[in-house]
Symmetry: C2
Subunit: 497 residues, 2 copies
Amino acid sequence: MPDAYTQLLNKIIEMGRLAAVDALVQWDQDTYMPDQGVSARAEMCAQVAITSHQLQTADALGELLASNSETGDPIRDTNIREAKRDYERACKLPAELVEQLSWASSLAKSAWAQARQENDFQAFAPHLEELLGLVRQKADALGYDSEPYDALVDEYEPGAKTAEIASLFGSLREELVPLVRELTQSPNQIDDEIVRRHYPEAAQEALCRHLAAAICFDFSAGRLDRSVHPFCTSMGPRDVRVTTRFDEQFFSPAIFGVLHEVGHGLYEQGLDPAHQFTPMGAATSLGIHESQSRLWENMVGRSLPFWKCHFASAQEYFPEALGSISLNDFHRAINKSAPSLIRVEADEVTYNLHIILRFEIERELVSGRLAVKDVPEAWNQKSQEILGLAPSNDSDGCLQDIHWSLAGFGYFPTYALGNLYAAQFYKQASQDLGNLDEQIARGEAQPLREWLRVNIHQHGKRFRAGELCERVTGKRLTTAPLMQYLSGKYKPLYGLA
Amino acid sequence: MPDAYTQLLNKIIEMGRLAAVDALVQWDQDTYMPDQGVSARAEMCAQVAITSHQLQTADALGELLASNSETGDPIRDTNIREAKRDYERACKLPAELVEQLSWASSLAKSAWAQARQENDFQAFAPHLEELLGLVRQKADALGYDSEPYDALVDEYEPGAKTAEIASLFGSLREELVPLVRELTQSPNQIDDEIVRRHYPEAAQEALCRHLAAAICFDFSAGRLDRSVHPFCTSMGPRDVRVTTRFDEQFFSPAIFGVLHEVGHGLYEQGLDPAHQFTPMGAATSLGIHESQSRLWENMVGRSLPFWKCHFASAQEYFPEALGSISLNDFHRAINKSAPSLIRVEADEVTYNLHIILRFEIERELVSGRLAVKDVPEAWNQKSQEILGLAPSNDSDGCLQDIHWSLAGFGYFPTYALGNLYAAQFYKQASQDLGNLDEQIARGEAQPLREWLRVNIHQHGKRFRAGELCERVTGKRLTTAPLMQYLSGKYKPLYGLA
C-alpha cells in the first residue's frame, strides 16, 4: 500500500493527464479539425470535462487531502497545497452553477459575436447582465475578503488582490499617460509603411520558424501551426504547441505573434519534466505566463540588438520589402507607438492603458456600482480620459473583446501584470547576465533562456507570482522597471532623448 | 427520470465519446506529435483507457442492461444487444489479464522489431510463447463452442466461426493456387517499370486528394495527412481521417493506399450521424470494413474504367513519367501480379494466399498443435506449398508482421474475408446499378457510394457481417464472386482470355 502522499500524487497525476488530453482535443479543434467535426467535438469535450470534474471532486481525493499535511519538503508541500486549493474551489462551486455558467457563456459568445458585428450593445446587454449575476454567485461561493472581484481574479492570478492591482494600475496610469502624450506630440513621428508592404506567407512562416529556433524553442518537443486566434498550449514540457496566423500585407502579426507565443512555449518547455502533470510542473499564474511571452516578444524581439543579429535573415526572406531598408528604419517601423482603439493592435506603450480601462470598468461591473446599460458611456468616457480618444461605435469600444462573453471577469489584469513582471525580470536578468544586449546581438539567446528557466520556469507553482518576483528581483512588483524600459526605449525612438 | 433505455443510451454515448477522444489522441500521436511527446502521450492514453474501462465495467451499466430487454425496435435492440456484448466481454476479462496482455505485448512489440531487424526468431520466441499463453487464457475467460480461436476471431469479426472461415479459405486456396500458377506461367508477363519511375511527392499528394474527392470522400468531414503506417480513424461520421505515406520512386503505395483508406473512410462517413457514438452508428466488423477499402482500392481503383476517367489527370500531374504512356500499358502496370514474400506488397490475386498461410498457422498455434519453436519451419513449408516460394530468412517470413506481437491473433482472417465480401458486394452493386463500369468511366462514383451507404453503411452494427451479406446479396458469403472477378480481370491482362 503506497503512503498517503503517493496515493494523493497518483490522483493529482490522473487529473493532470486528463487535462493534457483536454488540451490536445482543444488544440486539434483550433488547428486541424474538419468543419463538420464541431458538434461531435463539443460532445467529446463535454465528456472529458465531466470525467475531470468527477476526479476533481471525488470523496477519495478529499480523504487523501485530509490525511496529507505539510511535510517541510517544498515539492510535496507545493503539490499538497495546490491540490487542496483546486479541490476546495471545485467543491465550493455547485455543479448547477458551473453548468449555468457554461450554458450562459456559450449563448453569450454567439450573441457577442453578432452584437459586435452589428454594433448593437443592447443585444448583448441581457447576456452580460446574466453572466454578471452568475459570476457574482461564483464569487460568493468561492468567498473573498474585500470584494467579489478578488475571488474572480484569484482564479487566474492566485493570491493577487484587487486593491493591490488597483494601486499598481493607478500608478501605471499616472506615469503612462504623460509618456504617451509626449510621444504623440513629438515632431519625430514614425511611419510604419515599411512593415505594411507585401510579405509572402511562406517566407513569413520560414522566418517565424527561424526566429523561434533562434530563441531556443525546441521543435523536437513542440510544434508551430496555424489557427484563427494565435495561442500556446501544452501536453507537458515535451509537447508544447504554438500557433499563429499570417497577413501578407503586414509583417508584424505573425513574426511578433510567434515570438510572443514562443515566449509562453519556453515557459512550458522549461517546466521540470520530472513533475509533469503535477502543480510543481505547471505554470504559477497567467501574469507570470504573460511576462514570459511579453519579454521575448517586446524586450527581446522588438529590440535593436535582436535585429542586429536577425535583420540580414529577414532581408533574405523578403528582398523586395526589406532589401533596401536600413536596420534603424526597420527598428523604428516595428516600434511605432500611437494611441488606438483596438487592444489587440496596440503597441507596447499604449497596450497597458487598454488593460487599465477594462480593469476599472469590470471591477465596477462586478461590484454592481456600474450598471450594464451604462457600460458604453463609461467606456467611451474612460477611453477619452486614458487613451485620449473615444470610439465612434461600440464595436470598436466595449464590444471589442471576447472575454466578458466567456465570463472571464478578472482575466484582463493578468495582461498588464505580465508586462510589469516582464520588465522587472528583464532588468534583473540584464544585471545578472551582464552583457545581455551583446549576447542577444550575437544571437545567443541561450543564457537568457537558462536564466529564466532556473529562476522562474523550473519552480512550477512552488511560489505565487508576487513571492516569485521578490525572490528573483529582491523587490515587490512595481511600475518602475516597466516605465524605465519604455521611457528609455521610446524617447530616443521619438527623438526625445 | 428518463426511462431505462434512455439511461442506457446515455451510458453508451459516454463510452462512445471517450472512444472518439482516444481515437483522436492516437491519431495525433501518429501524425503531428513531436518526437519527445511520446512518454507523456503513453500516460495520456493510459488515463483514457482506465477511464473507459471504468465506464465499461461499471455496476450501474450492468444494472441498466439487466433492466433493458428486447423491444422489437431494431435500433434499440441493436444498441442493447451490442452494449450487452461489450459489457459481458469487459466483465469476463479479469483486469489482471488485460494488464498482463498490455505489458506483454508492449515488450513483445519492441522485441519483435529487433528480432525482425536481426533475423532472429529465437529472440522473439519467448515473447510469442508468453502471448500465446495469455491469449489462451483470454479465450478461456471469454468462452467458446468449438476451439479457443473462435473466441479470438469474434473480437474482430463478431459471430464468425473458425470452422466456417477454414472452409471458405480452404476453397479459396484450392481455386487460387491454380490461377496464380496460370498467371505465373503465362508468356505475357507484365513489366511494372512504368509505376517505378520518378513521381514527385507534391504531385502524388495532389492526385491523391483529387482521387479521394472523385470517389466522394467529403473533406469538410475529413482529412488526409501523413503517417509512417497508413490508417483510417474516425471521431464520428463528420470527422474521419485517413493517412498515407509517399515513395517518390513508386506510384502505387500512396495512390492505391489512399483509395484503400478512403474506402474505409467512406464507410465511416456513411454511418448515420443520428446514431453517432452508439453501436447503430458504428461499423459492424473488420471484415466488412476491409470490404469497403478493398472495393474502392481494387475493384474500382485498379479498374480500366476508373483510369479511363482519371488517367489524363495523372498524366498532367506526372508529365515526365506518364506523358507518353498509353492507358492500357498503365493499366497493366498497376495490375502486375506475381507471388512474393511480403504480404503488404502483394497484389490482389496473391494477397489472399498470404492470409490463408497466416490463418492456418495461427489457428494451430492457438490450439497448441503447433509449437512456437516450429513456426519458422511450418511457415516456410506452407509458403512453398501455397505461394510457390519460401523465404530465405525469417525476417521475410514468419517475422514480417507486427500483429502477433500485439497479441492480435484472429485479426488476419478479416483481411481475406474483406476481399471476399468486397467481390460479392461489388457483383451485386453492378447488377443493381446496371452500367456501373460506364458510370465509373464517366467519373460518377456517387451511385456506387450511395448504394454502399444504403445497403451497408447506414445499418451500423444492426446486422452481423454474414447476415448483412445475405441481406444485400441474397447469398451467404462464397468464394465464387472473388474468383470470377480475379479470373475475369487477370486472365485477359495476362493474355489468357
